[in-house]
């Protein structure tokens, strides 16, 4: 919470993107979250990613549920469309919006409580349907907004602020997303923008259901010793499998990499991802191997981050349903009311 608005003044040498905007033009209202909340860093990373991708803000829709994390869309992309839905219901509202207008870029912003507890079913179905979106879970292991109760992603054995241990098994949303068929799966950390920003850019460019689990420490209720979602714990146990460079056009690969350590992947929309491998034998295209790897390293207490799975040739819900290309709001009367003859023909086809 801050009493004054962020001054409109900006650095005189601030770079501009192709649209002539600075990154400041992608900001929203000043945050009312606790000072130091990881969620604010994720907002800043989204601002940076959209700025670097030269996205026109009015072509983006941000949707969220309830929680501190779900409040954040107010704090970025002030000139974009927004929908703050009810608790756990972001995925269905997003799915509906996407079906009505496939031309917008959809950012689904949620929390671990919003998505792994009350909204678990909604989460699962939006992923398995392949809705073209970036589904971001700002994962702090607690219900921040309601004063820090353990959420379903809190690790078994981790302790709350008063030292009480969590006895429930935890839900790993990355594993679930893999199982439900997400075509882009990644995990990152709010305290590592060098990793997070390129992942966000790649996820935005991805055609299909992209899922991003971003560990985001709650400084008010879950940043103590004994927490597995604190700055210190995540920094100590962070195991990145790769580092990503996002490139919109194909550039020659720099030669300063050892052969075999760089993999270049072209996505459906032509965007190019350059993966600098950290774990040499990790294969981002193998869903089953990825799930195994996550279980294994997770059991060893590591937090695996990076681009974990990618299906570069993914399809999305519109492809499966063979829907009309044009957004509803661009369809004219003739297309929307094709007349009784068409209705007759359609009814005939069902007899």
């Amino acid at each position: 919470m801050t009493y004054i608005a962020k001054p409109k003044l900006h650095h005189p040498k601030l770079p501009t993107n192709k649209l002539g905007f600075t990154h400041r033009d992608y900001e929203g209202a000043v945050s009312t979250l606790c000072a130091g909340c990881g969620h604010d860093s994720i907002s800043a990373a989204i601002v940076q990613a959209c700025f670097e991708l030269d996205l026109p803000p009015h072509r983006i829709a941000k949707l969220s549920g309830i929680g501190c994390s779900s409040k954040t869309p107010t704090y970025f992309l002030g000139a974009s469309h927004g929908f703050n839905s009810v608790h756990g219901r972001m995925p269905s509202v997003l799915t509906g919006a996407n079906l009505a207008n496939r031309d917008l870029i959809y950012l689904g912003v949620s929390g671990d409580g919003d998505s792994a507890s009350i909204g678990l079913g909604q989460f699962a179905h939006s992923i398995r349907r392949g809705v073209n979106m970036v589904y971001i879970v700002e994962n702090n292991g607690v219900y921040g907004l309601t004063k820090g109760q353990f959420s379903a992603t809190a690790d078994k054995g981790s302790k709350n602020k008063r030292g009480v241990m969590n006895t429930d098994s935890s839900i790993d949303m990355v594993s679930m997303a893999l199982q439900f068929g997400a075509s882009f799966v990644a995990r990152s950390f709010s305290g590592d923008k060098d990793q997070l920003v390129p992942l966000l850019k790649a996820a935005i460019a991805h055609d299909g259901a992209a899922f991003l689990d971003v560990i985001s420490p709650c400084v008010a209720f879950n940043n103590h010793l004994g927490s597995t979602k604190s700055f210190d714990f995540v920094r100590e146990h962070n195991e990145a499998v790769n580092r990503l460079d996002f490139i919109t056009t194909r550039e020659p690969i720099r030669v300063d990499y050892q052969p075999g350590t760089v993999e270049v992947v072209t996505q459906h929309d032509g965007s190019v991802l350059r993966l600098r491998k950290v774990a040499a034998d990790y294969d981002v295209h193998n869903r089953i191997a990825a799930m195994n790897y996550l279980q294994e390293r997770g059991a060893a207490g590591e937090v695996v981050t990076g681009l974990l799975y990618l299906d570069a040739e993914a399809h999305d819900l519109h492809g499966y349903l063979n829907t009309v290309e044009k957004p509803f709001n661009e369809l004219g009367e003739a297309e929307l009311i094709p007349g009784s003859e068409s209705l007759e023909r359609f009814n005939q086809s069902l007899r």
């Binding site: 919470m1 801050t2 009493y3 004054i4 608005a5 962020k6 001054p7 409109k8 003044l9 900006h10 650095h11 005189p12 040498k13 601030l14 770079p15 400041r24 000043v30 945050s31 606790c34 000072a35 130091g36 909340c37 990881g38 604010d40 860093s41 907002s43 800043a44 709010s190 305290g191 923008k193 420490p217 400084v219 940043n223 700055f231 210190d232 920094r235």
Partner: protein
């Protein structure tokens, strides 16, 4: 880079750009905040302690602070620092009771102050409260130096001079005015413990070209003419006037002429308009009063008709640059320009002259005829003789004279206390947290977006009729408040405590100016370009922390920080704090002496 040592007074002092640039290091943001709070008397006294002449300087200062002001790097124009000083002076209450007490019992030491300009007056102001007996000499009948004799009354009313010079002379300074000093030897023979020479640069340069002697009746040396005007010996000039020269003296000459009967007044300079020495605002004011400035014209001859000055002939030149970028003025070959005129004012420079200082008393001069003076101590080669103001290093301005005066007073006090003049006292510094609540600060951290306000002027028709009508009316309280709010509070420093930082990035994300970067350490030249926004202004320091938990360091580019305190508000651990840095120069007195 090594972690920044913020205990070194210069580090944060440099961040307060205005105070750093001010020769007498006035705590600018401190007094600007007091003005915003309506505490005009306090604002005045903060000024008075550092620069001695707030009302005078608030109208006339050369304001080196303003080009330095951070606001000018953040938006179009700096804070109107100088004119805010005047707001304090115009609105203050009675201050006599706040002036230092003058001991009735003197300390037995006698100091002669030669020349009654701002330099000498500053020395008196610093030494009188310590019990010294000061004797002030001047050839003019009244104290003030060129503040009184040169600066025209339409820029600086007499009453303001009387008041602020009076605060000092009323301290019981012994005045020996109206009599020039013609021998330093004789002064020394009076047995003074120390002598301060503040006699200025009193000689105006002449122009020796054909016709000079023949037309002498209508050719005047600028500074001599201005002082004659000031003292009422001259009250008119011809209808057509040419003013030669491009400095502030030329600007005062032309604007004065315009008020004494000059209808067609023209300023002529040898080189380009942009290279003129006059401050931009002085040129603006002159042109605003309908005075054209012609450039690239070299005076060749005073033209006479019937034994009287009738005009001047100028050669047209252009600037040429050789391979090394050195400029020369080359005749264009066009026909000469003839300008008709009735009078000419020559304002082509000012010089020092010390015919009254004997060369055999151990006081050394350099080959340009200037005394050898230590720029830190102001001491000459004759240990008990000190110089300051325009007399020390050639013509400068009032605020430099004041700064010299303070330093000389420290030297004199140390010398007469049996101490080494060379050991200079460090400034007094104070760093205090401004935190009042979680998001409350004891300064107004909300940054005003207003553009610089213009000082209202008197109606021109009225102003041009009477040389004593002050042109600038000054900001009223409301405008003063609004302008004061533009100040960024650069003295409220961002202070970083590395052990508290959890590297959550909150400060990086909130900073409106992208000042803060967390990154691997490196050499300064290597670090600067890879900060969040490259730090391309090498005159502004980088604030570098000790290594943090991740091995990275916090690097803050001080250049365009708004001192908005948002980094400290967003920091969950209080690793950032906003702390007010108050630096006061140590002046003569017990504090300047070693304990």
């Amino acid at each position: 880079m090594d972690p920044t040592d913020i205990r070194v007074p210069d580090y944060f002092h440099k961040v307060v750009d205005c105070q750093w640039a001010c020769p007498s290091h006035t705590p600018v943001p401190e007094y600007i905040r007091l003005i915003a709070a309506g505490r005009y008397t306090d604002a005045y006294m903060v000024n008075w302690a550092s620069n001695v002449f707030p009302g005078i300087l608030g109208r006339t200062c050369d304001r080196p602070c303003e080009p330095a002001c951070r606001r000018g790097r953040v938006e179009k124009e700096p804070v109107a620092i100088c004119r805010l000083k005047r707001v304090a002076a115009d609105n203050k209450g009675e201050i006599k009771r706040l002036l230092p007490a003058i001991p009735a019992r003197k300390n037995g030491k006698r100091v002669a102050l030669l020349g009654a300009g701002p330099a000498s007056l500053t020395v008196a102001r610093d030494l009188m409260p310590l019990g010294y007996h000061c004797v002030l000499y001047d050839g003019d009948g009244r104290a003030g130096g060129m503040i009184r004799s040169q600066i025209p009354k339409f820029r600086l009313p007499e009453a303001v001079i009387d008041e602020e010079v009076g605060y000092i002379t009323d301290m019981g300074v012994e005045l020996r005015l109206g009599r020039r000093v013609d021998s330093l030897k004789a002064v020394l023979a009076e047995g003074y413990d120390a002598v301060f020479v503040g006699t200025g640069a009193p000689r105006g340069r002449d122009l020796d070209i054909p016709g000079r002697k023949e037309a002498a009746a209508n050719i005047h040396i600028g500074i001599d003419w201005l002082s004659s005007v000031s003292f009422g010996h001259i009250d008119k000039i011809g209808r057509r006037v040419i003013v030669l020269g491009g400095g502030n003296t030329a600007m005062d000459c032309c604007r004065s002429s315009k008020r004494l009967g000059g209808e067609q007044v023209t300023v002529v300079v040898r080189s380009g308009f942009d290279e003129m020495k006059a401050s931009p605002w002085e040129k603006e004011d002159a042109m605003h009063e309908g005075i054209p400035i012609l450039n690239y014209l070299v005076p060749r001859e005073f033209v006479l008709r019937d034994g009287r000055l009738a005009g001047m002939r100028f050669e047209k030149v252009a600037a040429h640059y050789d391979g090394t970028g050195r400029r020369s003025l080359v005749a264009t070959g066009e026909p000469d320009l003839l300008l008709d005129c009735d009078d000419v004012l020559v304002a082509v420079g000012q010089e020092n002259a010390f015919p009254w200082i004997e060369r055999d008393i151990g006081l050394d001069f350099d080959k340009w005829g200037m005394p050898k003076v230590d720029p830190r101590t102001m001491q000459s080669t004759l240990p008990k003789v000190f110089f300051g103001g325009d007399a020390a290093f050639g013509p400068k301005n009032i605020i430099w004279a004041v700064a010299h005066g303070h330093e000389a007073a420290v030297s004199i006090d140390k010398l007469l206390s049996g101490e080494q003049v060379k050991d200079r006292p460090p400034p007094l510094v104070n760093l205090v947290s401004q935190k009042m609540g979680i998001h409350e600060w004891s300064y107004d951290n909300d940054v005003s977006l207003d553009l610089r306000y213009k000082v209202p002027h008197a109606e021109q028709a009225v102003a041009l009729k009477n040389i004593k009508v002050e042109v600038e009316l000054g900001f009223d309280r409301k405008l003063g408040y609004l302008e004061a709010e533009r100040c960024l509070n650069c003295d409220v420093q961002t202070v970083f405590a590395a052990p508290l930082c959890i590297e959550c990035d909150a400060c990086v994300d909130i900073c409106p100016m992208d000042c803060i970067t967390f990154t691997g350490n490196g050499g300064e030249n290597e670090l600067r370009p890879r900060l969040k926004v490259p730090a391309n202004n090498p005159s502004q320091d980088l604030y570098v922390s000790a290594a943090l938990k991740t091995g990275r360091v916090m690097v803050k580019d001080e250049d365009v920080c708004l001192h908005c305190g948002l980094c400290a508000e967003r920091c969950p651990t209080g690793a950032w704090d906003m702390q007010k840095f108050l630096l006061e120069m140590t002046q003569a007195g017990p504090a300047c002496r070693s304990r």
